[in-house]
Symmetry: C2
């Protein structure tokens, strides 16, 4: 047991997976959960997600030695303000938001000195959302990035690290700015691009939606999975990681234009070289255990 009482604020995919993973590992004495929507709280009670579901975040954090903010990035500041007066001395506050600089700016000013604020970001997820979408294995062999704020005692960070390791994750540390840039590359831009491509397909008058759907197995369907992710979460990500996202998008369009020009001018060598190069990264990802080597992710109608 690493914490006596863990309070999960917000009960979506990440929080509900944490509840399952904490139980699986016997990592906390008690798990308290809360969510703004009464429907979400109702479902959480029905599926027995936590030991106790409270009506408000204020109640949830009382007596907790770990508070995890699992709300969309844009809601973190308000929640921090709400719970701040009710936090126990010495408790750790962390979050699971996909951007770190903006979350720190929004949350840190509200928190009293007596608590430890250790922002975090588990790099795991699926396209599903809500309290029913969680499962204990979500974090297995995935990375959690911790971004301890200045003055955090190493013991507090170590304890939080042990919790995540107990949930199956690997833990890394970096600063907030670097985190936001890395994630712009590995997550935020890919999502925006996928949303855009799916939007284009849906918009095109000369190709019907039913054609797009029937013939999606040729590549497009992978984009639709990513573009099925939670809209509120992703709106907040882009609004709060503006700088890095726009920088990477700038790089992306620059390279896309170069390839477009190669297509227009018929420069097959440039295309071939580019396409050969990108295979190596895939091999690295499979060797690092971050994806399956099974063709087509191992899915298929019958396999």
């Amino acid at each position: 047991m690493i914490y006596q009482r863990v309070a999960l604020i917000g009960l979506g995919l990440i929080a509900s997976s944490m509840a399952h993973a904490i139980r699986r590992g016997g990592l906390a004495g008690e798990i308290i959960g809360t969510a703004r929507s009464s429907e979400t709280r109702e479902i959480a009670r029905e599926i027995n997600l936590c030991d106790r579901i409270t009506e408000t975040a204020t109640e949830a954090v009382q007596g907790a030695d770990l508070v995890v903010l699992c709300v969309p990035v844009g809601a973190m500041g308000a929640v921090a303000q709400e719970i701040a007066p009710h936090l126990s001395e010495g408790c750790t506050v962390t979050d699971v938001g996909s951007v770190k600089k903006a979350v720190i700016e929004a949350v840190a000013p509200h928190l009293p000195e007596k608590v430890h604020f250790i922002p975090g970001h588990p790099l795991a997820g699926t396209e599903h959302s809500g309290p029913r979408s969680g499962f204990a294995e979500l974090f297995d062999n995935r990375w959690n990035i911790l971004v301890p704020t200045v003055g955090t005692p190493p013991e507090a960070t170590d304890r939080l690290r042990k919790l995540w390791e107990g949930m199956g994750a690997n833990v890394d540390q970096m600063d907030a700015e670097h985190h936001d840039l890395v994630l712009a590359v590995t997550s935020h831009c890919p999502h925006l691009i996928a949303y855009t491509m799916v939007g284009v397909a849906d918009d095109l008058r000369r190709v019907t939606d039913s054609e797009v759907i029937k013939y999606s197995a040729a590549g497009f369907r992978d984009f639709t999975r990513i573009a099925a992710s939670d809209p509120t979460m992703w709106r907040d990500v882009f609004l709060n990681n503006k700088e890095a996202t726009l920088e990477i998008l700038g790089r992306f369009t620059e390279e896309l234009f170069a390839l477009q020009r190669a297509i227009r001018t018929g420069d097959g060598q440039q295309l071939f070289d580019y396409f050969t190069h990108t295979r190596a990264i895939r091999r690295g990802i499979i060797e690092a255990g971050q994806d399956t080597a099974a063709p087509d992710f191992g899915r298929g109608p019958k396999r």
Copy 2:
């Protein structure tokens, strides 16, 4: 048995899957295979992929009542020219290329009047290539689009349709130009975009490759799968579907710029609306049996 003797020219993912699927269904009396590379022919013999492997395409097509061109789009014309004098009267020639207008232009002029040319495109694949990558289930519940040329007798088209249905596929017909536009949306542009995003990640000095690999589970890894596809095949696709690809890329960058502007100006409503809209297409694809509803394609370290 639908054909007496099927000749597969080129022995990559599609041809080798056809060999397995034709055997599974007992759809041909004999399967002859050939490939330009002696290494490929050697592997094909070793794994007993076909009933007979010939050294040349000329030998392979002799006496065949179905010839399937399974070479990269850019090689189709030369192969057609080579085999043309050796084709049997009344035999059907088809192909599996990802573009249709350019293949018809390259192949049709070489073929004698006495054969039926019925271009085709099975919308199925994985990121793997070569004779070992094939499997019998690749076409199950996937679509094959046939683009019969003018004057093809309906019986010849029906017979080819039956072969594909016997291999598990659904069969549709459309004209070449529409095919190339639909595929630009559902396949060619998604691939180019995925290649570009992976290239950007690899290029970025301030984010290391090992970071890109470790933290790929946040979305990026799906792009790397697509960007691991066969470079020769994809070079030829873009060189031969220039017009439609550039049109769709134009639409794509237009929409991407609109979303980029929404990020820059902080227009959360526009982002939210866009991201909500694209969820519906995903649902359609799952209902149509073209992808799995399992979160994250059902993959994961342990699930």
